[in-house]
Symmetry: D2
Subunit: 112 residues, 4 copies
């Protein structure tokens, strides 16, 4: 399944529920932000090691997958409403990052 | 291009820069959250109408595509590090949403 | 009651529950971010007019006050752990903003 | 200086710049969220130990104080626009938390 299929499925889902008027860019940015908050909540009190091993616990994994899915769903819907090709934009960004951050730049790039 | 291709490209990008130790789940959740903050900043002072027409301005569109790309890149990287299949998780979530929110439920579902 | 009183009360609250090891700067930044996500969720589907009148509804007001409180509590706790005087920092920032944004600059300042 | 003084100063600041129409609840929630994103960015790649010692470096401390200030400023402005007494709401929330989380509940409370 591709991201285009996912966007099409969400578009149909929103249309069937007459949610178009609510799915404005500002509202969807807020919904995306709220879902990232729910994802953050799953990890906030974990030690780094606990966070790394969290997906090994089936119940924790289910919650993580659920929140990651919500983030992707609102991101895809927002991009669709704005008419942006997410995958193309992401590859264009990596192209630029390859110039900005030469291999072996190491941590320096992270401390800008 | 698929999301799997994108994840593979990012994995290679991170490995070439020895960024593995920094790409922990907690750090990537924070980076994802910071990028959503940058996306939010682009829309925060716009009226709903201005937000809807923002992609028609080439400079605004470039900034929006850039921030949407950053959000997708960190989301894809986080899912890869956690071993989660994002597209499968998203479709599973829509499957559940189709039961939770029957067609024509309208706004009620949004006000829970 | 001052912000210092609030910080002192939270410090005692955390100590009584042995939460010190969890209240690291990174964890508290994540908790703050998650709480802002919950606040965002309250407003995301409202029209601008509905958002403005939301505090007139007692149940909505209670939810808003609860989430604003959580944001302030984690912000105060984070500043306390980092040894930052929040009120002084805020006034220093307004001092700088008075230079950066002269009166009557209007919207231009918001579009940077 | 109290939070009320800070709110009054921001209100005057916004009025002098005719920013009232932009300072709607939804816009201010977005601005608050974007500022928390900037704060998050300062900590995202730091190890827990680096994050704890960050305020000892004067340049890092200045950036942290600046972002904490921005978060407090938008939070105070948002509460003012909504007519909410932040300090009272925060104490009411701690009152409830003292019932929800008895002393020595320890980590259990964090894992709900």
């Amino acid at each position: 399944m591709t991201l285009e299929d996912l966007a099409a499925r969400q578009r149909a889902f929103a249309e069937a529920r007459a949610w178009g008027p609510f799915h404005t860019p500002k509202n969807l940015v807020m919904a995306l932000s709220a879902e990232v908050g729910e994802l953050t909540e799953l990890f906030q009190w974990l030690t780094p090691d606990e966070a790394t091993s969290a997906p090994q616990d089936p119940a924790a994994r289910a919650r993580i997958e659920d929140e990651l899915a919500d983030v992707l769903l609102y991101l895809t819907r927002l991009a669709d409403v704005l008419g942006v090709d997410l995958i193309a934009a992401a590859h264009a960004k990596i192209d630029r990052n390859e110039t900005r951050f030469p291999p072996n730049i190491g941590r320096a790039a992270l401390d800008r």
